[in-house]
Symmetry: C2
Subunit: 282 residues, 2 copies
């Protein structure tokens, strides 16, 4: 396993792989890896095949954080991450520094106009511009055939797929299922921030998804009514504060007035100061 | 020489070239080719080498035109263009349709924030967003090693270079010199719009550049004073109306209060309804 910090070295190596017709599967991450990431790497290993290459990037991307968000305190543990990558059969870790990725007069951004307006885009207005910009950069540096994203960030995966379609990136996007703790909490590097109390209450996000699934199983229901139900459920947990819950078309992400089976639900909940997200098909 | 209209077919072929380690040199155009384009193709032919591939795209890109601009009447002559490409040793013409390039719910754009604010960006506010978006798309479809742009569009070339740097496109940008008519008019597909009278007066753009070069040859001069001089010169031609003239740093494109040798000058002039641009190092 190689660890590469330089953009030029990574891009040169990727160019050699291309010219040798090697399959490259890529997992972009912000590090502090957990079993969710490991499942993405294992998926990448399978997609690349025994002769192919698996690249994992570990980079906490500043442009997707707002000034008041947790960029500086985002958890980092390279040694542990490297061990997990090694165990998962990763060939190359790409871990650039900020000055490698962003020149002082950096001025080019990739932005998505429609899907990014909803949900996370409301609470975090510049977040997705940071995501599409860094993913475009990483695609150009790593030159993957396939890139694997986690389903926990449903809107992010939808926006990356849209970027690939609209800018014609020669990359196939694979979305791998959310990995959960035994009690249903979706794995996230931010779970580390939770107090014991908050951690105990955090499975309420999955409970909310299951409640909505049960509610629409028999017949369509009004979105407004279902929202109220979810709000009440979240309110039962003392540490929890609902940021948003939305029912939407999984292609356009447009909110649905009437929610049926097959619709998608996503929610964001503050547990104390930590913001957790989750989603599911209903 | 092959003519390809489908994005998927072009991208598949480009992928095969990559996997065979073939050098690809690319000239993006809007067609209605002239000797300026031919010089770019010849440059591409040299850069690709005898075993390499030269691709020319012919595509009048709607997203870089404002609604009031000349998108629909922009001159088109594919047969003549194809003959010129053939003569210049082009291997592939890529000529997609609008629906191939832009889905009805297209929503991803590449934009440059700093260099695009000046000059053309003032008169044509969304122009460069259209340019960077289509060039990013074409790079992802054609997968070139090198792309050749004309120096007549100095700001465009600067912005494309910035895009390549900031988004890490694995493409080398080459800027080839402006080709001129005998009387000094820079070649442009839009010259076709000029009446006999306007055509006769059009070399005033080059005269303006030469006047400024002479003015700064001995010592630095105030930008404001030099601007006035150029304004007066343009005003001597009855069909001409100055849109802008700027003296600027060729790296940052920031305007200079004091203009010396080595500074860059660009101007845009309406000849009747036709807008012409030109530029030079002073």
């Amino acid at each position: 396993m190689r660890v590469i910090a330089s953009v030029a070295a990574m891009q040169r190596l990727a160019g050699q792989w291309r010219n040798a017709a090697k399959k490259v599967a890529f997992v972009p991450t912000m590090g502090y890896l957990h079993a969710g990431h490991v499942s993405l790497m294992e998926r990448a290993r399978k997609l690349a095949g025994p002769k192919g290459i698996v690249v994992v990037s570990i980079y906490v991307n500043p442009t997707q954080f707002a000034p008041h968000e947790d960029f500086t305190k985002y958890p980092r543990d390279f040694k542990r991450d490297a061990a997990l990558c090694w165990k998962a059969g990763v060939d190359v870790i790409f871990t650039p520094s900020d000055p490698e990725m962003y020149a002082p007069d950096f001025s080019v951004y990739v932005s998505e106009d429609r899907l990014a307006k909803f949900m996370e885009g409301v609470t975090r207005p510049h977040h997705f511009r940071g995501v599409t910009t860094i993913v475009a950069k990483l695609f150009n540096v790593v030159l993957p055939d396939t890139a694997i994203f986690g389903a926990k960030d449903f809107q992010q995966a939808a926006i990356v797929k849209r970027m690939v379609r609209d800018l014609n990136f020669p990359v196939k996007i694979v979305v791998a299922p959310t990995v959960r703790e035994g009690d249903g909490l979706a794995l996230s590097s931010r779970n580390k921030y939770l107090s014991t109390e908050e951690r105990r209450e955090a499975p309420v996000l999955l409970l909310a998804l299951q409640t909505a699934q049960a509610a629409v199983a028999a017949r369509p229901v009004f979105g407004a009514k279902l929202k109220k139900k979810i709000q009440q459920l979240i309110a039962t947990q003392p540490s929890a504060r609902l940021d948003y819950v939305e029912f939407f078309d999984p292609q356009t992400l447009e909110p649905l007035a009437i929610v049926k089976k097959g619709a998608h639900m996503a929610l964001a909940v503050y547990m104390g100061k930590t913001r957790l997200i989750d989603n599911a098909e209903l």
